[in-house]
Symmetry: D3
Subunit: 237 residues, 6 copies
Amino acid sequence: MTTSLSAANREALKKISTATLTTALFKRGLRNVFIQGVFLLNKESPRMVGEAYTLRYIPAREDLDTLGAFEGRGHPQREAIEACPPGHVLVMDARRDASAATGGDILMARLMVRGVAGIVTDGGLRDSTTIEKMPWPAYCAARSAPLNLVRHHAIDSQLPIGCGGVAVYPGDIVVGDGDGVVVIPAKIANEVAEEAASQTIFEDWVEAKVNAGRSIFGLYPPSPETRAEFEAWKKKK
Amino acid sequence: MTTSLSAANREALKKISTATLTTALFKRGLRNVFIQGVFLLNKESPRMVGEAYTLRYIPAREDLDTLGAFEGRGHPQREAIEACPPGHVLVMDARRDASAATGGDILMARLMVRGVAGIVTDGGLRDSTTIEKMPWPAYCAARSAPLNLVRHHAIDSQLPIGCGGVAVYPGDIVVGDGDGVVVIPAKIANEVAEEAASQTIFEDWVEAKVNAGRSIFGLYPPSPETRAEFEAWKKKK
Amino acid sequence: MTTSLSAANREALKKISTATLTTALFKRGLRNVFIQGVFLLNKESPRMVGEAYTLRYIPAREDLDTLGAFEGRGHPQREAIEACPPGHVLVMDARRDASAATGGDILMARLMVRGVAGIVTDGGLRDSTTIEKMPWPAYCAARSAPLNLVRHHAIDSQLPIGCGGVAVYPGDIVVGDGDGVVVIPAKIANEVAEEAASQTIFEDWVEAKVNAGRSIFGLYPPSPETRAEFEAWKKKK
Amino acid sequence: MTTSLSAANREALKKISTATLTTALFKRGLRNVFIQGVFLLNKESPRMVGEAYTLRYIPAREDLDTLGAFEGRGHPQREAIEACPPGHVLVMDARRDASAATGGDILMARLMVRGVAGIVTDGGLRDSTTIEKMPWPAYCAARSAPLNLVRHHAIDSQLPIGCGGVAVYPGDIVVGDGDGVVVIPAKIANEVAEEAASQTIFEDWVEAKVNAGRSIFGLYPPSPETRAEFEAWKKKK
Amino acid sequence: MTTSLSAANREALKKISTATLTTALFKRGLRNVFIQGVFLLNKESPRMVGEAYTLRYIPAREDLDTLGAFEGRGHPQREAIEACPPGHVLVMDARRDASAATGGDILMARLMVRGVAGIVTDGGLRDSTTIEKMPWPAYCAARSAPLNLVRHHAIDSQLPIGCGGVAVYPGDIVVGDGDGVVVIPAKIANEVAEEAASQTIFEDWVEAKVNAGRSIFGLYPPSPETRAEFEAWKKKK
Amino acid sequence: MTTSLSAANREALKKISTATLTTALFKRGLRNVFIQGVFLLNKESPRMVGEAYTLRYIPAREDLDTLGAFEGRGHPQREAIEACPPGHVLVMDARRDASAATGGDILMARLMVRGVAGIVTDGGLRDSTTIEKMPWPAYCAARSAPLNLVRHHAIDSQLPIGCGGVAVYPGDIVVGDGDGVVVIPAKIANEVAEEAASQTIFEDWVEAKVNAGRSIFGLYPPSPETRAEFEAWKKKK
C-alpha cells in the first residue's frame, strides 16, 4: 500500500491533539472517528502516528483454540506481529471484549523492536505492568491476564475492521495521545493534518490568553477582531 | 462448499431442541455455541436448519455509507441476499449493535422466496411487524427502524465471523427454535444430530413420566434401572 | 404552539412505517431519530402520530419524593397528564432508567380519555397488562411495577429533552409503529411526510414484485427501467 | 419454617397487582422490592403467590461442572426441585447471568406437578416454548438454551440470596403478575396484603371514574371530598 | 442564590472525606448522594467544595449542532463557563454518555482562572492530559476527544438535573475527593458538615488505634467504654 | 482448613505473573480463572498470594441495614475482618455492584496489621486514597464512597462464592499482580506453581532474546532447536 501521508505531516501529527483532529474531521462530516473505550498504558510514551495494519479476531472455539495453534507458522496473530510494517500501527478488532488478552509483553516488545509505531486493541493486554514501562504507545480496553485462546481466535489481517466502534481501513492514519485514538481516512490525512496544525497554533494562543484572564466570549471561537489580532501575532512570531 | 449434513439429519434437526443440542455439544467440549441476545420474530415459523452463509458489517463511515452505496451491483449486503444458497441460513455479524437495522421486509421476502432457510443477525431488523407474519424464521437482536447505513457498513461475505458472541464458520450447521439459535461445527453435525435425536426420544419419555407424577431422582439423569425401563419401552414402541 | 403538520399529512403518517421515515430523515442528514430501547405495549393499538409534549424526570431524593408529593395541585407528572393537548404525544425523559415506573393504568386511561395520541417513556410503565389491552399506543422501556418515587422525580414540562438517546423538542412530530418511535423535527414534518408517503407506495409495489419472485438487483433500489415501470404502473392505478 | 401468611391474605394477594404492593412497601420505607430484569413466560398462567424457597448458583468451574454432577443424589439444583414445598416459590440466584439456563421443561414440569407455586430466576430458562404453555408461572431473565453447567454451579439452598438485585430471605412472600415479581418481607406480609387489598378496591373505583371522563385532580390521590365519596360508595356496595 | 454554607463549614468540608459524608447523609435517610461513574483527573488538585451551578445537555441533532452554534453569544455551554460564580462547582448533566467531550482545556482554564471551585460532568473531557496538570479539580466519566457537538447539545442552566444518577439542585453543596463526588442538599449542608467534622476526628483516632494493633470489636463502632476513652482523649488534645 | 500450598511455592508465586498462571490453568482445562473488572489500588504494594477466605453480600434491605447493624458482635463483615487468618486473602462477593463500598481504610488497616495477605472485592472500596498508600494489595471494582449499607448486606463467610464472574472456594489460592487476580483451585496449586515458575524462566529468556532483536517465529512458542538452546542456557546458568 502506498502511503499518502507526507513526512512533514507525520511529524506534525505527533504534536496535534486528538481533540483538535476530531474537530477537523467533524467539519468534513465525520462524527465517529474516536475509538471508544481504550486507554494508553504508558503515559510517558512518545506520541503514536502511523498507518493502520489490521488484525481481526472472532470468538474462540474450544476444538480450534488450543495451545498447539501457535506452533509453527501461520497463526494470524503471530504473523501480524512480524508483518506489520515499521511506522504502522497494529489495530486489533477484538469485538470490544476485554475479558481476555490479545497480546502480552513479548509480542509488544517484538513490535517495538521492529519499529512498529504502536498498538490499539479493543480487547485486553496482559503483562501490562511490563508494557507500561516500555517507551512505546499501547492502547487497550483493559489489563487482562487470560491468554487470547480463552476468548479470541485470530482469523485474518489487513481487512477493514471495527475497533472500539470505529471503522478502520488498512492504511488509515491512526493517531493517539493521552485522550485516546483517532482514525483519519487515508485520503484526507494530509489536509486534515495541515488544517489541524494551523488550528493548534491558534488554540495554544487562545489558551495563553485565557490563562492571562481573558473571557472566552469573542475569543473562542474568535470574533473578526480576535481573528485579526491572532493573525497579526502569528505574522510577528 | 460440499454439505456434510445428511438429508435425514437435516429433517431430524427440525425436531430437536436447541437445548438438547447444547448438551450434545457440551459433551464434546464446546461450551459457547448459543448465539446470545437474539430472539425469533415469528413464533409460528417453521423450524430453522441450514448451513451458515456469513455476512460481515463494520461500523459505518459517513462519506462511504450514503444511499448511493446501494445502487448498481456490488453492495455486499444486496449481493448476499441474492447469493445465499437455498437451504442455507444467512448469518450476519453486526457487532451486537442493534441500534440500526441490518435488513427489512423486502430483503427478508426475497430470502424467503429464494428458499433460504432463515436469517440470524445480532443487529436489528426493520419492518418487524411484516416480517413476523411471514412463514419464515428470522432472528434479530431488536426491532430497529433505522436503515443500516446510519451504523453498519456491509463489507464481505463467507468469512468466519462472530454472531452474538459465537464463532460462525461458513458451512456450520445453524439450528433455531423458540429458545434461540445454536451453531454446530460442520464436521460433527451428523453425529451430533444423531445423538441428539436419540436423547430427544429419551427426554420426551422422561417428560411424560414427570407429568404422570414421578420424581426426577433416578429418572433424570436415569439410574441403570430407569435406563433399562426406557430401553424396554423403546423396543416395544 | 401552532401545529405545522397538515391534517392530510397527519393521516398519511399513520400509514407510513418508521423504517421509511428514518430513510427520509437520513437523506436530510439526520441519523439519530429513532428512540432506542422502547417497545409498544399494545400490538393492536392504532398507529401513533402527534406533536411532542415533554415531561422531564431527574433522580428521586428521599426527602422530596414521598407519597405526599402527589397531593393537591402542582406535581409536574400529574399536571402533564391533564395538560398534554389532545392529538399530542406525551414524551417522558426518564434518563433511560426503567427500574421504576413513570406511569400506570390510571394515568394512561386519563390520557386516552382526554384524546392524547399516545405516550413514549424511556422509563418503565406499571400495570402493563391493563395498559396493553387499551386501544391506545404506549411505548416504554420495561414493564416495571415500582412507583416512580423510588427512582424518578418529575421536574418540568415542555422543555427540550432526551428520550431513548434522541433529542425531542416540544412540537416535534412523533410517529410510532411496531418497530418503535421516530421523532421528526417540526419544521420538516410536512415535507418528510409527503416524500415518505410516496416512497411507501413504491416500496409496496417492490414488495409485491419480490413476493412474485423478482430479484432485488435493479429493483431495490430501482434502475431507470424499473423506475419507469413503476411510474407507468402508478399512472394506471 | 412456619408460614405467617393467612389463607385469606394468600388468596387476596392473587388479586393485587405488584404495582400496588410496591406502593404499600414504599410507605414502610422499602424501595428495592421489585426483581429487576425478569419476565413472565406464560401470560395465561395463574397468579403467583408463595413463600420463597431459595437456590444459589456460583460460576461454574470446568473440572467440577461436568454431566456426571447430576448423577445420583445430592446435586443442589435437583435436590431443590424435589424439596421446595408445595405452595412455595422457587427463587434462584444466578448472579443475573442469563447466558445459560438454570432449568428446563422437565424440571419445571416436576415443580408444577409437585404443587410448587412458581419459579423466579435471574438466569435463563431453556425449553421456553414448552414452559410457556404450562398453566404455571415461570419468570426468567432470558430464553437461554445452554445447560446450566456451562456457566452456573448450584451450590446451596435456603440461604438468603439476591435475585434481580433484590434481597430474598427464605420465607419471604413472593408475588408475581404480568409486570413482574415483588418480594414482601415475611413479617409484614399480612399487613401489606390487607392494606393493598383495600387500596386495590379504591384504585378500581378510581379507574372507573377516569374511564368515565373525570380528571385526576382531586381524584388520584383523593381530596377529602373524593375520599368521602368513595367511602359512601363502598358502604353501599 | 443566597449561600447557606458558613465559611467555617466550607473550610471544614475540604478536610472531610466523601465517605464520611455519605454516612452522615445516610443517617438522614439519603442513600443516593454519590455521583456514580466519575473520577478525578488531577490527583494532586486541591479539594473541591462549592455550590452547584448546573448545565444540562440533551442529545445533539445534526442540523442544530454545527460549529456555527458556538459563534456570538448565547450558546448555553459557553455562557455557563462565564456565568458560574466563583466558589461554585459547575455540574453538567450529559446523560451519562461519555462518548464525546463536554469541555476541554481552554474552557477548564477559563473556569479555573475565574475562581470556579471545580467541575463535575457525567460526560467526557478532552485535552485531559493538560487538564490533569492544572491545580484544579475536574471530575469526568472518561477522557474523550470528540467535540461535544457530535453527541451533546447544551440546552439550559441552573435547572435541577441528574448527574451520574444523583439529583443535583442549583445551590446544593458539592464535595469531591479522591473517591469521587458527593451532593449535599443545601438546607442540611451546615449540620452535615459539623457532624461529619466531628466524626472525622473520631475516625482518625480509630485509625491510629487500629494501626497500633487494636481490634475493631468495641472500637468501630465504639462501645460505651471506647466512646468514653475517645472523649477523654479529645478533651486533653 | 489445611493449607496445601508449600512455603516454597508460596514464595515462587510472588514472582509469577497472573498471565503465566492463566496459561498453566488453561492447559488443565480451566478457562475462567481471572476475576473480571477489578484493579489494584496500590501499584507499589507487594505481590498478593494467599488462601481465599470468603465473605458474601446480598442486596441491602432498608429495615435491616441500618447503622445499628454494626454494633456489638456478629456483623458478618466485621467478624470476617477479625477472622480471616494471616496469610489468607479476603475475597468478597458483592454481586459485581460497585455503586457502594464493601470496606474502607479502617477495615483495610486492620486486615493489614493482622497479616492478611490482601483483599479482593467486586464491589467498591472507600477512602481509596488512603488505602492506595498502604504497603498492601487491595483490589476493587471502583473507588466508591457510599457505606456498604446503602446497597450491600454482609450475610455469611467461608462459603463458595462468585467474585468478578469466577468461582472462589475457601482455600483456593488467590494470586494478584498489576494485571489483576487469578484463582487457582487448591488441589492443583502446587503443580501449577511449579510449572508456571519454570515457564517464567523460559519467558524471561524469550523476552531478552526479543529485546535483542530476534523474531518470534521458532522462538515463541519454541521450535525444538530453540527449546534445546534454552535448556543449554539454563544448564549453564
